[in-house]
Amino acid sequence: MTSELVIQNLHVTVNDGEKEVLKGVNLTIRQDEIHALMGPNGSGKSTLAYAIMGHPHYTVTEGDILLDGESVLEMEPNERARKGLFLAFQYPVAVPGVSMANFLRTAVSNVRGYTDQQPTSEDGRPGVIGSNLMPMRDFRRELLDKMDEYHVDRDFAKRYLNEGFSGGEKKRVEILQMAMLQPKIAIMDETDSGLDIDALRVVSDGVNKLAGTGLGILLITHYQRILEYVKPDYVHVFYNGRIVRSGGAEVAHELEARGYQSVREEFGEPELVTA
């Protein structure tokens, strides 16, 4: 069965309902599809990403988000992750003192269901804490393979999660995490920003590789540049809290040539709505 993420008439407010940022988003992403989402600063792209992943500051006031027909709105972010959603953050968060390896082993063990079993000892009593994680050797092998594949230096396994990583390193590590967690649908929020040309290629290769293995992608970007490497099936223009235009690659070219001016002319300046 192909997975699909269906976003229906999604309205989202922030700041305890003070401000409506998403004003009726409709979008369907299936496995193996790449959707590019482009739109001006502040139009609500990250808000959409956060809402899909379940950030507690973003409240869905109307509409629904369905993964394979099931609403995710009542699910905690970790449950959504386990169902196969992944968000590559625009600004990945540092967690000092927590090594990448330790973090990823815990994450993978949760997403792949190892932690569904409580640790148990041989004689049936509660077992050693952490003994229900993915076996260390299997995990290490897989991590090191993936690090090589996605051109992340092996030293990063010991480094603290995102701490002191350069902008580009953070983005690569988001892709590495995505490769380890093997989601069905991934939202990549400006994963291409701040990358040098080599890193852009690594990230694009990664996206292409994963897209061919049953991953559906929503690629939020400001730049035509990444679309030279990653060929989207659909391009959407996001403006003032909704998708205002959808089409193929030509939409991106048009935007690149003319900027958001024509969109502005057609849809007007965004008003600051106070709900």
């Binding site: 992943m53 379940g54 950030h55 507690p56 500051h57 905690e76 972010p77 970790n78 959504r80 992750a81 386990r82 992944f86 968000l87 953050f89 990945p92 968060v93 540092a94 967690v95 000092p96 003192g97 927590v98 330790n102 973090f103 815990t106 994450a107 993978v108 949760n110 997403v111 569904d116 409580q118 640790p119 000892s121 009593r125 509660p126 077992g127 050693v128 804490i129 952490g130 003994s131 603290y160 999660l161 995490q177 967690l181």
Partner: protein, 471 residues
């Protein structure tokens, strides 16, 4: 995902953990409750001690009785000194086996992954073949090097000369009320002597003293590190320590001579009825290094400020302390560094975590004496609060009588960051696992200073402590 019934089952288990465990006890001798000169005489008689020690105990008792209760720090007014047994002599023969152990305790050991030798020791299961063999072979190695590692009572019996030269010199009975109490009724603890130039490359672990008495209420530890010698002593472990008596008051004295080096690591996890009032102090001579790594969990009240007195030029002192205060607990911890000679350096790093209304405070003293020119000190204390009900305070006392010094002090209080929680949850961790991971990361700078196996256990212990913290 844990099913609801899993969670309930675990929640039940956890409640039992909180009270630690108690073993059926057999005593050869148990003093009556309360404390007076007669009890002190009984203790001295039973131990067959030299007169000087008996006199020392009596003198200490007078000091204890005459000193008022400290009025600063945590509230100690509920301690009932008359309601405590000051001396218990455990049976020689081991009366229990692993199978007699209460389930909750076995479960905790299991979950923390405590090695069997250590479990047996903790359970008072007594002479276990394996650990005896380990202990004896280590003992042989040490003896060849001239290293002495005994329980303190045997130390006094077998090495009275060295013992007498140093005992009570770093922390005299008059130091504080609880040091006086310990001096009057002390029993157990470790006696360590490392001769000049000897490096002991395996940490000396208290639990290897398997023949000795279990961790006592009034332990007394004395460590002497001769010139150029090097030792790491490890006290305690991650398992919860059940104490039938609610007062634990230990004294640890350490002498590090010229160019010597000593590290003393502690992990203690007391049951929540215990007042844990400990005096720990070391002197570091010229070029010597003294490091305290001190992790404190549990207890009702803990007051503990390991100290380093840097008495010779270029001595270095370091104190890393972790305190984790849960519901109804006050952990008042920190450190003292005294710069008494030129070009000495020190570092205090304190990390405290408070949850469910717990209160963890940092209390520290930095003193630079006149003449300690070129001294440097950094103090960093970070507090992490897991909820709005919990509390953290910082009391840094600084006394500097010299101009030419460099002193840095940083303090921070933070709450568990929501964006970190969300990030981790988006990777599949539930809220509790996410918070636990953040707490582990917060204390990582200290945990990585512990010997590997303790570091691993320490992280498990943090997970155990964090259970049921959220929601």
């Amino acid at each position: 995902m844990a099913t609801t019934s899993d969670r309930e089952a675990l929640a039940g288990v956890k409640d039992e953990y909180r009270y630690g465990f108690s073993m059926p006890e057999e005593y050869v001798f148990k003093s009556r409750k309360g404390l007076d000169h007669e009890i002190v005489d009984q203790i001295s008689d039973l131990k067959n001690e030299p007169d000087w020690m008996r006199e020392f105990r009596h003198r200490s008792l007078d000091i204890f009785l005459s000193k008022p209760m400290p009025t600063w720090g945590a509230d100690l007014s509920e301690i009932q000194f008359d309601d405590i047994y000051y001396y218990l002599k455990p049976t020689e023969k081991a009366g229990t086996t692993w199978d007699d152990m209460p389930d909750s305790m076995r479960n905790t050991f299991e979950r923390l992954g405590i090695p069997e030798a250590e479990r047996n020791f903790l359970a008072g299961v007594g002479a276990q073949y394996e650990s005896e063999v380990v202990y004896h072979s280590l003992q042989e190695q040490w003896t060849k090097l001239g290293v002495i590692f005994l329980d303190t009572d045997s130390g006094l019996r077998e090495h009275e000369d060295i013992f007498r030269e140093y005992f009570g010199t770093i922390i005299p009975p008059s130091d504080n009320k609880f040091a006086a109490l310990n001096s009057a009724v002390w029993s157990g603890g470790s006696f360590v002597y490392v001769p000049a130039g000897v490096t002991v490359n395996i940490p000396l672990q208290a639990y290897f003293r398997i023949n000795a008495q279990n961790m006592g209420q009034f332990e007394r530890t004395l460590i002497i590190v001769e010139e150029g010698a090097n030792v790491h002593y490890v006290e305690g472990c991650t398992a919860p320590i059940y104490a039938s008596d609610s007062l634990h008051s230990a004294v640890v004295e350490i002498i590090v001579k010229k160019n010597g080096r000593c590290r003393y690591s502690t992990i203690q996890n007391w049951s929540s009825n215990v007042y844990n009032l400990v005096t720990k102090r070391a002197t570091a001579a010229e070029g010597a290094t003294m490091e305290w790594v001190d992790a404190n969990l549990g207890s009702k009240v803990t007051m503990k400020y390991p100290a380093v007195y840097m008495m010779g030029p270029r001595a270095h002192g370091e104190i890393l302390s972790i305190a984790f205060a849960g519901e109804g607990q006050t952990l008042d911890a920190g450190g003292k560094v005294v710069h008494g000679a030129p070009d000495t350096s020190s570092k205090i790093i304190s990390k405290s975590i408070s949850k469910n209304g717990g209160r963890a405070s940092y209390r520290g003293l930095l003193k630079v004496a006149k003449g300690a020119t070129g001294s440097k000190s950094t103090v960093v204390c970070d507090a992490l609060l897991l909820d709005d009900r919990s509390r953290s305070d910082t009391y840094p006392y600084i006394e500097i009588d010299e101009q030419d010094v460099q002193v840095g002090h940083e303090a921070s209080v933070s709450k568990v960051n929501e964006e970190q929680i969300f990030y981790l949850m988006s990777r599949g961790l539930d809220e509790e696992a996410a918070a636990t991971m953040i707490v582990s990361g917060f204390i990582e700078p200290m945990v990585k200073e512990l010997p590997m196996e303790y570091a691993v256990e320490m992280n498990r212990l943090i997970q155990l402590q964090m259970e049921g913290s959220i929601g």
